[in-house]
């Protein structure tokens, strides 16, 4: 549904996006992550036909966005990382305006807008001036705006930025509902835990270059081969740490407030062997837990622990 090949954008001599390549099949949610200035927004703006690429191709729903921008615009819905609202219009007038801009016929507009306002849970605020809506409501209204022409692909730049936890959960629910409706969604975001739950695919970009892309689980496993263990003991913590550090499959072992965190490269037999060693050494083990590596670990590994990691 989205196919990007060697996409490059230079501002002067400096490449903002440098040969980015990725694919998003139909009906998938693709998380696009990277530190500030990595090239996420520039890539999305090229896909949204707002920036002309220096080189490379981007195809949305079979349409080349460089050669046929007019047609591509009808297939994509774009939600930037700002509200972009007209304060003196009501919520329904705002959507009516964009529906007209997208050429939705006059007799269909009212029904579509009612449906969209219900989808984003703003039906009871349809006659409220946009200015009077809360930040979360404006964000949802912008999502509805991106949907007025029923696009196949949604490009969302930081859709949950600045929202409180409840509004984020609502936004996540709406995106899952949109996925179930068959939309292909590309989300640029810093909020990695949410992307882990929401996205089926991921792309990590840093300094304009795509560092890793693919299904979330594959990317995480490929980038974090070592497992993490959390071991809790009643006492003799120092002995336990020393024992762990001497064990062949252990990379590091550190005492933390939650217990002993161990970076482990061995298989499950080696894990059982470590536990057995600790018990036979008389260390009172009360918990021995395997921690799943997450998107944060993969992200930090690729971006060198950038300050923007969420």
């Amino acid at each position: 549904m989205i196919a990007v090949t060697g996409l490059t954008k230079r501002f002067g001599a400096r490449p903002a996006v440098d040969g980015v390549t990725f694919e998003v099949p139909a009906g998938e949610i693709f998380g696009f992550v990277g530190p500030n200035g990595a090239g996420k927004t520039t890539t999305i703006r090229m896909l949204a036909t707002l920036l002309r690429p220096t080189s490379g191709t981007a195809v949305i729903d079979g349409i080349d966005v460089v050669r046929q921008p007019e047609r591509a615009r009808r297939r994509l819905g774009f939600m930037p990382d700002f509200f972009g609202v007209y304060d003196r219009l009501t919520a329904s007038e705002y959507l009516m305006f964009y529906a007209a801009c997208y050429g939705v016929s006059r007799h269909r507009r009212a029904k579509i807008i009612l449906d969209l306002l219900e989808l984003v849970d703003l039906a009871d605020r349809r006659d409220s001036l946009v200015d009077t809506l809360s930040r979360g409501m404006k964000q949802r209204l912008c999502l509805a705006r991106a949907l007025v022409h029923d696009p196949a692909v949604l490009l969302l730049d930081e859709p949950a930025s600045g929202l409180d936890p409840r509004a984020r959960m609502e936004m996540r629910g709406m995106l899952q509902e949109l996925r179930s409706m068959g939309k292909t969604i590309l989300i640029a975001s810093h909020i990695l835990p949410e992307l882990t739950e929401l996205c089926s695919m991921i792309g990590i970009i840093d300094q304009g270059q795509m560092q890793a892309t693919g299904p979330v689980r594959d990317v995480v496993r490929g980038l974090t081969p070592s497992r993490r263990l959390l071991i809790e003991v009643l006492d003799r913590q120092d002995d336990a740490v020393t024992l762990c550090q001497r064990f062949p499959s252990v990379q590091t072992a550190e005492l933390t407030s939650g217990g002993i965190e161990v970076a482990f490269t061995g298989d499950e037999r080696a894990m059982a062997s470590l536990l057995r060693s600790m018990v036979s050494d008389g260390i009172p083990v009360v918990a021995f837990t395997r921690l799943e590596a997450g998107l944060e670990d993969a992200y930090l590994k690729l971006t060198g622990g950038g300050e923007d990691a969420a």
Binding site: G84, R88, E93
Partner: protein, 295 residues
């Protein structure tokens, strides 16, 4: 496609709604009526006071004086209002962060600019409409033919259209409203008053340098620049049938436009300026063959 964009334009409808939902629009309309009506009444009162007796010939003079005063006042009001209507049209969208949303909708740059222009000109026409009762006072006294009123209004509207497209042009040049607004007002001043002063000063300087202070004040092509100002067309129009000695010619006496009436010349030049400013705005907003790429 372009015809559809121009005739069924959603931007126009949105502009109507948002422009009239603020107290400033109503206050501006009221201020226009008060200023033009008040000054018109003042002129009328002054002339009436100077003239001892009210006779039929005096009434004709009142009508002519009121006609020219109201035309110039109307032009002054529109000169003040129109740049404010369009100089923020595109920069405002940019500052509200809605321009990207419009540019990635399948609506052409021409349609976007056209919508903004029509939305602004509708307000200009509304101003002229609310001033119509004041303007109709000239008909009470006679002395002004209907075609003079129609031509006067046409010159006023085309002049406002020029100012509007120039404002729109600066709105696409700058990223912020304030510099766009400042440049739009400067350009408007040049188009309405500056050319008048410039053309006449040039003509006077040329005469003095060539013939001395008592030289012949013959018309030159360079003085044509002064005729771009609508004030020249208004004065020529008001003296059309009177053979007034205060204004020497009814038609352009020399140069490539020789024989054209001043209002014809004014409409042609302003029309050309409109096309140039609108074309320039379109190119700036969409440099790549109708695709709004911004690199």
């Amino acid at each position: 496609m372009i015809a559809r964009d121009l005739t069924r334009n959603p931007i126009v409808e949105k502009e109507y709604r948002t422009r009239m939902r603020t107290w400033r629009s109503s206050c501006a309309l009221m201020a226009c009526v008060l200023i033009v009506g008040g000054i018109g009444w003042l002129i009328f009162a002054l002339i009436s006071g100077i003239t001892a007796r009210y006779t039929q010939s005096n009434a004709v003079n009142y009508g002519l004086v009121l006609f020219i005063v109201l035309l110039i006042l109307q032009e002054a009001v529109l000169t003040f209002i129109t740049p404010a209507l369009t100089a923020g049209a595109i920069t405002g969208e940019r500052e509200r962060q809605t321009l990207d949303l419009l540019l990635c909708a399948p609506i052409s740059a021409v349609a976007l600019l056209w919508g903004k222009l029509i939305g602004s000109m509708a307000y200009v026409l509304l101003v002229l409409l609310v001033l119509a009762p004041v303007f109709s006072l000239t008909l009470l006294f006679g002395g002004v033919a209907v075609h003079q009123i129609v031509i006067g209004l046409a010159v006023t509207i085309v002049s406002a259209l020029t100012i509007a497209t120039v404002g729109l042009f600066f709105s696409t040049v700058f990223r912020r409203t304030i510099p766009a607004m400042v440049l739009a007002y400067i350009a408007t001043f040049v188009l309405v008053v500056g050319v008048l002063i410039g053309g006449w000063v040039y003509q006077w300087a040329r005469v003095v340098i060539t013939y001395g202070s008592n030289g012949s004040n013959s018309y030159t092509s360079a003085a044509l620049i002064a005729d771009v100002s609508p004030a020249v067309a208004f004065i020529a129009l008001s003296t059309e049938d009177s053979g007034s000695s205060s204004f020497q010619f009814q038609t352009v006496p020399d140069g490539p436009f020789k024989g054209w009436t001043y209002w014809q010349f004014n409409l042609a030049v302003n029309g050309l300026l409109c096309l140039c400013a609108f074309g320039g705005s379109t190119l700036l907003l969409a440099p790549g063959r109708g695709a709004p790429w911004r690199s």
